[in-house]
Symmetry: C2
Subunit: 472 residues, 2 copies
């Protein structure tokens, strides 16, 4: 057990035994650091972990407080995954294609959807920014704003990095058609068909699809449901399989909701640098943090340029606009070449419209509201899971994003559950979508980004009943 | 020599000898068909060929007329290309990347540019349509309009096909990020790395880049400078190399300007169907025809679904919007899967904005003006080529699009010419960009889509002088 983990366990025990009560303020990082003889970074890491587990919450300009006693919730998933350690070709795209197609209709209850509630975004304001931007679209701009992308937008993205403490030049960015294209370009720039890519277990299916489309092999690495990919397991996997790249989501991973602490991120970056291995970091959920601060990205520790940091506005501001980007580090030239060869450039009016919106400074306020809404919805869905799912269910406590990860009683067939639910107009994302080996057969990802209204509540109850019958 | 070629040669000879004079009307297709005992299709094919060669012109609702005697122009390129018949990996992307980067600035004279003059498009009207479309953007639309793309736009594209005599259901279309993504998705859906793809010689470099990015091998097939890929050569190449797909531009090929007649297109489609070989048809210039009718596409003869017809609005209406599409025939499902796996969907506001513009019926009028402008510019550039380039230069007479193809006196090094021109702020597209073997070292593609103003005239004269010295 590392020092920060020991401190977190100590504090968690104090909370459980009632020594620290709901509403109590934790000692400041500085004070705890002095009292316990630990570095401030270690204390921060421990508080971060407690926050991620929902035991404490941060309040702006004030500090960390013990959260009100949560209703008795099902336990969290605890065990790190145990993939078989083999690298293999991927064949998930048919399953994913059918599932995605089923979630595109508004008539289907979107529990399985990957998309956030589209009502959460300032589409009207964005539309006005787009209209104003397009009215000023001087013809040559359609040529000048080719890859790497419109400079006004790249400037805004660089400013966003700077606000997070990371200095990146606009010229180090390539604008993409969403983070999905960023991922594909990053793979194209670093791997050749037949190469092995290390991924989390479970892993976001879009990454598996991308590996499949490019003829790459997936190497699933043991992953902790709270803290993400296991670095010892990764190190061993690298030694055995010599992957050509690592792909992961460092913050609020899809589907687990796991998040790496800053020290683990630093260690990960050192590890990949030691192996001279590109790390493709998908960080699309980082801005959707419920804690006080945006969690850092691995990119923040990347002194040697091995991290290709991918993100987008699709989850935070502008779904459907398909504007993402990648900060490819030392692979900048290769990524830009791939972009030029596969889609030339990204929709120029959309780029300029977004840039204009971002220049007006409403984004931060929008994000604050979005995070609050999602956090409140998370709690309501957690309560509902407790009410309707069978005993023995475990459920994650994500500190950001909009997915819950459920482990149903072992033996529950979530592929069957998905079929039964779809027959009632309810989409689900069963565990096997998130693994090249079709593992996680008793797991389920639930989207809590939509309001828990009557229709949703009824759907959850139906799914819970079906799950109870399948769990036997 | 085929019948239509014989008829065309006969009429061309009559024009040269003055039996048919400028302004004379050719017999109607019906009359000529009766008089000569040929099918109307054969006569049409012959007239089409004469029109493509600039000897006759069609006038709306009237017929074909002998064109005013052209100023004495340099001769046309005559010989079909003679590639070595080998399939090989491609490495052009560095060269292309540098060239494209050099044409993105408005300070560089865009003779080498691939982009049309951005002033030729109704950007303001499009912007208003986009603004209106986005104002009505109901949130769920951002989800519902995922791949295969927004239905209102697919409907408009299907209507456009219908106007061209081709009945396609909107559900047979996949909207893409420009025709370049359409090409990439088509390759991904039909080929695996290491496969061979038959292409024209010379061939549009973006196709070579796409082959390179996907680890595919290029098999260049002999191509006629006026009538496109040679079908006997293609048949022989198929027998020898078993390519997995054919890629070509059937109308106003980039860079040659060549166009296949309808009977040749029919024969090509029969040929690929016989070999069960996908034909990826890039038809982005088809709407930019100077003749009376839009030339048909190969897709029009595709009864068995082997043709993947790719096009876009980037050259005709909305540069920078990155809206293209593919009608993938029997590969529909695979292409849609690839789209979902690589970029999820195409910018929804841009799709809806374009759909709205197209619903208002200004498109046809815009196209008529665009074609007239480009045709007039072609003639001015042809005159300039005659004035400034060295004796022994040959130049194409494209009947559509916006590129001239020049064969300079043999031995002229156009890569060197490109360097000298770039040093003076003039971009050029030298022949070797258009071949996996870096052939066509004495050839040059010139963009005539920009106004031939004083700056352009001076640039052309400078390039001509440099070419004379190099040819010297």
């Amino acid at each position: 057990m590392k020092r920060y983990q020991a401190l977190a366990a100590d504090l968690a025990s104090s909370i459980e035994r009632g020594l620290l009560k709901p509403g109590d303020r934790l000692p400041s990082v500085r004070q705890a650091s002095r009292d316990r003889g630990l570095s401030p970074a270690t204390v921060f890491e421990a508080y971060y972990l407690l926050e991620a587990r929902g035991l404490v919450e941060s309040r702006p300009r004030s500090g960390y407080y013990v959260r009100a006693a949560p209703p008795s919730l099902p336990p969290e998933p605890e065990h790190r995954s145990a993939p078989d350690g083999e690298a293999r070709p991927v064949m998930v795209s048919e399953r994913v294609f059918r599932m995605l197609a089923s979630t595109m209709s508004r008539d289907v209850v979107p529990l399985g959807s990957a998309f956030p509630d589209p009502h959460l975004f300032p589409l009207a304001r964005l539309g006005r920014a787009l209209a104003a931007g397009v009215a000023e679209l001087e013809p040559w701009r359609t040529v000048e704003n080719l890859t790497p992308g419109a400079l006004p937008l790249r400037r805004q993205i660089a400013l966003r990095y700077l606000a997070g403490g990371l200095r990146l030049d606009p010229d180090e960015l390539v604008v993409c058609n969403g983070a999905l294209e960023a991922l594909n370009l990053s793979l194209a720039a670093t791997c050749r068909p037949g190469d092995v890519v290390a991924v989390e277990s479970p892993c976001f299916y879009a990454c598996l699809q991308a590996l499949e489309a490019r003829g790459l092999h997936a190497l699933e690495v043991a992953t902790d449901p709270r803290e993400g990919m296991d670095l010892d397991a990764l190190d061993a996997a690298i030694a055995r399989h010599r992957p050509r790249a690592v792909w992961l989501m460092s913050n609020f991973q899809n589907p687990l909701g796991s998040a790496m602490g800053p020290e683990k991120k630093r260690a990960l970056v050192e590890l990949v640098a030691r192996h001279q291995l590109p790390l493709i970091e998908d960080d699309v959920y980082g801005e959707l943090h419920f804690g006080r601060q945006r969690p850092v990205s691995c990119k923040a520790f990347d002194t040697q340029g091995w991290v290709l940091h991918c993100s987008s506005f699709s989850k935070t501001l502008a779904p459907g606009y398909r504007i993402g980007w990648v900060a490819p580090g030392r692979f900048l030239h290769e990524v830009a070449k791939q972009k030029l060869a596969t889609s030339l450039t990204t929709c120029v009016p959309a780029q300029l419209g977004l840039a204009r919106y971002l220049e007006r400074r409403g984004f931060e306020r929008h994000l604050v509201g979005l995070r609050d809404t999602l956090q409140a919805r998370r709690d309501r869905y957690l309560d509902a899971v407790q009410r309707v799912f069978p005993d023995g269910t475990r459920v994650s406590r994500p500190a950001g994003g909009y997915f819950l990860w459920l482990e149903l009683p072992s033996g529950t067939d979530t592929l069957e559950l998905q079929q039964q639910a779809m027959a009632r107009g309810i989409s689900l994302a069963p565990g096997p979508m998130f693994s090249a080996t079709q593992g996680f057969g008793h797991c389920l990802r639930l989207n809590y980004g939509h309001p828990l209204d009557e229709r949703m509540d009824a759907a959850l109850r139906q799914v819970g009943e079906m799950a109870k019958r399948l769990a036997g």
